[in-house]
């Protein structure tokens, strides 16, 4: 199609969509009253239409929507959760009152690894890095007085994602909200658990089955739910560089697509619900370029390699969190500045939602004060800086476009290597990504120690006798309280019904049936997460690492 014609059609389509999704302001302008247009660059004679496209159009280099933040800011979604369900519910309602627009639940490690709070492996861990959930009772307390048809909820849960999603559906039903109205995301990305994050339970094969069962179930019953958040975040935190983060995330994404197709699903039925999750680190322009490259790479793969027809299948939509491992324990207030530039790179890279880290996360869980400053950082970027007033403002920068091309090239080299190994699952089983990441992380550490890389306040500009900040403490008696709660529940529930449901679960695990419907029944019968995962552990076995 002729370039002028294409731009004209894009303008018409954009105007039309604005009838439904109007922009934030009638007119955008700078402090000097210079008009701020929606999009710049297309008037250039040599505008690279093929590699950049137009916003909201293939290959989405310039953004996944046509008006981007001129219509609506990114979702400000702070990851939170600690201690008991009741305590976390309070923090959620505080964040919503402060203007946060989505929830993001952090679960404690026993929940993430499918153990009840009274299991011997749970010792010391109950309620520490997130909220402790044993049964649907805890989930009800967690979501008390939060309108689930209005708030979208992201849950960082992987190996037992089916169980937590089932609980969410069941609690919504009790609130009178049907599953078709629910919106949110489960992380559900097991491959990066093997690679970088460590909260796996089952071996790869049954894990991939649990994931594709969720894809199939949600397509039918929970259509607005993002069924997976394919995560580079933890790969980066484990020490990868930007190109490795990009490459391994997309390689993992391809493995899920392959598994879903193999299980009989059609690409355009599940691909629109795939979401991504990236890190924002310190190298500002490289990070912006990474997000732009990711969109373009995914669009090409989905359309050209998999033949997806629905444009929503081509779109890579992503959440971003600023880089936890870039924060220093020394002079923690400096971290506010790091978080600000990282968050800005995510915004200029076109993220759909954003978590900004709190300054004290290298020391402990964030205090309420720190969590508020982190949220304010996003609000300042959104409301005070004007960076959200035009679409993809860094496009056309020689440097940013070069970095975008180079990251795509380097990532494709890795992906090619992984394909030759038989795909991401095989590469993970051979420990390939793990080794690559470890190599990079050790090199980085050496550079920091010999001063080649400077970390302000840590290996340079340090101060003696730093004041010690106030830190958040989790109630140390929580483990015991949670155990008691569990015992009370076990005494009062209908034990026969529990046993019957667990038997059905076992039978389903042995068959090829979709496990989601029976897991929903299990949680409604007050089976605990440890009991459900216990049955699956017996049937599927456990992964023990490379």
């Amino acid at each position: 199609m002729d370039k002028q014609q294409r731009i004209k059609e894009w303008q018409e389509k954009t105007e039309q969509s604005m009838n439904r999704f109007p922009e934030r302001k009638e007119r955008f302008h700078t402090s000097s009253d210079i008009e701020v247009g929606r999009l710049y660059g297309t008037e250039e004679e040599h505008y690279p239409m093929e590699s950049l496209g137009l916003p909201g159009e293939y290959p989405y280099t310039r953004g996944s929507q046509s008006t981007m933040y001129r219509a609506r800011f990114w979702t400000m979604r702070q990851y939170a959760g600690f201690g008991s369900a009741e305590e976390t519910n309070k923090r959620f309602r505080y964040l919503l009152d402060q203007g946060q627009t989505g929830l993001s639940v952090a679960f404690d490690l026993p929940t993430q690894i499918g153990y009840d709070s009274d299991h011997s492996m749970s010792r010391g861990e109950v309620g520490k890095v997130g909220v402790a959930i044993d049964s649907i009772e805890d989930m009800e307390a967690l979501l008390k007085d939060i309108p689930l048809d209005k708030v979208s909820t992201s849950m960082t849960i992987n190996a037992p994602a089916s169980v937590l999603l089932a609980m969410y559906i069941a609690v919504a039903e009790k609130q009178g909200v049907g599953p078709e109205k629910l919106s949110g995301t489960i992380q559900n990305d097991i491959l990066k658990e093997y690679i970088a994050r460590g909260t796996y339970i089952f071996p790869p094969k049954p894990s991939m089955r649990l994931i594709t069962d969720i894809f199939g179930y949600c397509q039918e019953f929970v259509p607005k739910w993002n069924t997976i958040s394919i995560s580079g975040y933890h790969i980066r935190e484990a020490g990868a560089n930007a190109a490795q983060e990009l490459a391994f995330t997309i390689a993992n994404g391809l493995a899920y697509v392959d598994a879903a197709i193999e299980s009989g699903l059609k690409i355009d039925d599940f691909a629109p619900r795939l979401a991504f999750f990236f890190n924002a680190h310190n190298q500002f322009f490289e990070e912006v370029a990474k997000f732009r490259a990711a969109r373009r790479m995914w669009a090409k793969l989905m359309r050209e390699h998999y033949g997806a027809k629905n444009p929503k299948s081509w779109q890579l939509r992503f959440h971003t969190q600023t880089g936890g491992s870039t924060l220093t324990a020394q002079q923690p207030d400096n971290n506010i500045v790091r978080v600000t530039t990282q968050a800005l790179s995510a915004v200029l890279g076109g993220t759909q939602s954003l978590h900004t880290n709190s300054r004290d996360e290298a020391l402990a869980l964030p205090t309420e004060d720190s969590a508020r400053i982190a949220l304010r950082t996003q609000q300042i970027l959104a409301h005070e800086t004007g960076v959200a007033d035009t679409v993809d403002p860094l496009a056309g920068s020689y440097y940013v476009e070069h970095l975008t091309d180079e990251l795509e090239r380097k990532a494709n080299e890795y992906i090619e290597k992984i394909n030759q190994m038989g795909g991401a699952v095989a590469a993970v089983e051979q420990g390939y990504m793990q080794r690559e990441i470890h190599h990079t992380s050790y090199e980085t550490q050496k550079k920091i120690e010999n001063g080649q890389e400077i970390i302000v306040g840590m290996n340079k500009f340090s101060i003696e006798n730093e004041p010690q900040p106030e830190l958040l403490r989790v109630d140390p008696t929580l483990g015991e309280k949670q155990k008691e709660k569990l015992q009370t529940l076990k005494a009062k529930r209908d034990q026969n019904r529990v046993s019957a449901q667990l038997d059905s679960l076992r039978a389903a695990a042995k068959s090829d049936d979709n496990l989601m419907p029976i897991i929903v029944e299990c949680v409604k019968s007050y089976c605990t997460i440890g009991e459900i995962c216990g049955v699956l552990r017996e049937e599927f076995g456990e992964y023990t690492g490379v």
Binding site: M121, V129, G198, E237, L363, Y442, I448, Q468
Partner: protein
Amino acid sequence: MKKTIRVLIAKPGLDGHDRGALVVSQALRDYGMEVIYTGLRQTPEQIAAAAVQEDVDAIGLSCLSGAHNELFPEVMRLLHEKGADDIIVVGGGVIPWEDIPFLESKGIQKVFTPGTPTIETAKFIEQAVYERDGITEEVFSGVAPERIDHIGIAVKSLDEALPFYVNVLGLTLEAIEEVPSQKVKVAFIKIGETRLELLEALTLDSPIAQFIEKRGQGVHHVALGVTNIQDRIDEMKSNGIKMIHDAAVPGAGGASVAFMHPSSTHKVLFELCEKTKSKEEAK
């Protein structure tokens, strides 16, 4: 013989963040230690058992989930139960500063918080293990020699040898003097920052005469420039080095010198040599 220190790096609890544990493992290996990494999700029982079975000198516990106050002391209790209290235990991870005194009271020797250079961890473990084992000779605490002051070469006749150094090599003859205490006549030839010291015997019982008789002409000794020579002599002796001179004697050029016995220096005759201050300043 340098002792090879064995370290167990362990991840107690359910925490899956092992970047720090892996980096520290690698750094300790590069430092020369033997490192065993347990992998994720180890119970305190598994860690204590592995430490005893592997006969390690030290354990590094890594935890970023906040479970350290329960899990670290439990490891200590189990080590005690197994009679393995002599194992040095250190910890690291996301550990609030206010928890550190408690962990130390439970026997954790040191907690390394984020940002600690790995070399610091390695040195701490090394020193703690050496202290426990009463090993001192490995830890060099003195002051190293600063330069090669000169190289001593035994010749039969200065008159015969000097033309080679001065006319052929083109070096500068600085001075010729007799050193009665050593029964030698020496010629100093300057070369860069150092000197060649040609030695000719004055008497038949001079050490140089004996040397030439036994081995022929050639390199005789290497002189190491030091300060506070008496302290250096005492240091050498405390490290088991046999000295020819227990106290400094006057040497050529106004220096104070002392020789070490070749039997404890792998057959090289070394001389410790301190130039007096005024001489240094005169240069």
